[in-house]
């Protein structure tokens, strides 16, 4: 990138949320490294909190959801930047709250009255974005293509979108498309991987909506259905763009293997990879830094499903 340009046009405030920094830090690592490589600048949002989660906390108390989310958006406003997030849940919260406040001036006034007491003021000048939206819309496939150094010749990918990156569609940037979006598949295929179709591809992973914390077995039953459909088409890996979906497919795969041992036949063992980890290896970044290689002896941490079969593919094909 040309360092002489005064202002980087791809400068954003990175909203981390909870699952990425506190359970899947390899995703944080890969987001930071890939965006740096792509010439974007991601600033931290010091003091950001939980978004708050749209399934749990919004279900308990909508007013809390609005004010805490508005505070998080204000932190980015104070930096004069659009907040971007790598989590569908955080995106659902930040984008929906931003949208609602843009369309309801009374609500905006109410929220500002609360924020006043901590010395903050919400304007709504900066729309929250999902990092996939930055990759696909702000940067574009052609721009990213130039950074791809290695391409897979044989990698079958089951793409999982998750729900809140596409729905509710009127509050999303995909021109109303929610039944059959293709943007994530197109990003995946930049790496030479093949996105393969599978039954009920756009179905929910089961984690959201406070369901995982309410009745884990029901969440796992969703995941089991998706895993069966993904195994049926012989996908090598699952690619996702949400750490809560990642958790549900990764840790959830262990849970499915246990809860449904009698009905699934062979236990599932499908690596779950985040979109910037896949892009990163294809861009020639060190798989160590992308969190694809385990360099520690810490027990009981993510990823719960080994990435080894994916690493083998990288070694064979790059």
């Amino acid at each position: 990138m040309n360092n002489l340009t005064s202002e980087n046009k791809w400068k954003y405030a990175l909203f981390l949320g909870c699952v990425i920094p506190n359970r899947y830090p390899m995703i944080e690592r890969s987001i930071r490294d890939v965006f740096d490589e792509l010439g974007a600048e991601l600033l931290d949002l010091p003091g950001a909190s939980c978004c708050p989660a749209p399934g749990v906390f919004r279900s308990f108390h909508i007013p809390t959801w609005y004010v805490i989310a508005a505070r998080n958006i204000v932190l980015a406003e104070e930096l004069n930047l659009n907040p971007i997030t790598g989590c569908n849940g955080c995106y659902g919260t930040l984008k929906d709250v931003w949208y609602d406040l843009e369309h309801d001036s009374e609500l905006k006034k109410k929220v500002n009255k609360e924020l006043q007491k901590i010395g903050k003021n919400y304007t709504g000048k900066y729309e929250p974005k999902h990092l996939v939206q930055v990759l696909y819309i702000d940067m574009g496939l052609n721009y990213i293509r130039d950074f791809i150094k290695y391409q897979f010749t044989d990698l079958k990918v089951a793409v999982h979108y998750g729900c809140h990156i596409v729905k509710p569609s009127k509050k999303r940037p995909w021109n109303g498309e929610y039944e059959n979006p293709i943007f994530l598949d197109e990003i995946v295929e930049l790496t030479g991987a093949k996105s393969i179709n599978y039954k009920d591809k756009f179905m929910c992973c089961g984690a959201g909506g406070a369901l995982r914390s309410a009745v884990n077995e029901v969440a796992a039953d969703f995941t089991k259905e998706k895993l069966i459909n993904i195994r049926d088409v012989e996908a090598d890996i699952i690619i996702n763009c949400c750490p809560f979906c990642e958790l549900q497919f990764d840790l959830g795969q262990i849970e499915v293997n246990k809860i449904f041992a009698n009905e699934i036949g062979k236990p599932f063992n499908i690596p779950v990879i985040y979109i910037t980890q896949l892009l990163g290896v294809s861009m020639g970044l060190d798989p160590n830094r992308l969190g694809l290689i385990r360099n520690h002896n810490i027990k009981g941490v993510s990823p719960f499903i080994s990435h080894d079969s994916f690493l083998k593919k990288i070694k064979e094909q790059f």
Binding site: S59, H61, P63, T64, R71, Y178, A214, F222, G291
Partner: protein, 195 residues
Amino acid sequence: MNENPEKYLKKDICKNINNKISKKFVEVGLEKILACINCGTCTGSCPSGRRTAFRTRLAIRKILTGDESILKDIDIWLCSTCYYCYERCPRDIPVTDMIIKLRNIAVEEGYILDNHFNLAYNIFFKTGHAISAIGEDNKKWRALRKSYKLTSLPPTVHSYPEALKECQTLMKQVKFQDLLEGAKNKIERDLKNNE
């Protein structure tokens, strides 16, 4: 998508609605629920209903008829908020938002699952995160962060105690804490009464 769902609303019904639950929907501007024709597209689109007893159409029906048993029905917590019902509703009712509001009313009435109370009160209110990395139990997650050359705590409320205080101030102001404590007291009272 029809952008004008108001045309479906029967204003007289809207004015005369007198059951406690549906009144609460109307109060917060979710009166679109009154346009429901009970067609069942929501239930037919629901991935949770495929495997559980949760029936979206029935939940909406109970709201409209003022059947308060729906508030203590655990089924309303089985929605994963995938938004298919919201997108596909032929009457443009934001169904998922209705389920969220229904849950808000349930919590107000003291119906909250133990897991959820713990998550809201002992984790979110106290740490500012829904999933935290502080405390002895979470040592391994801080070590994991460090193994990827990240700061052991993220630059969030975890690293800025004054920011956490701001969040707690806001939560107290909008009476989140009161709501949770009220729910907890109701649960304990009900337990006593049942003994």
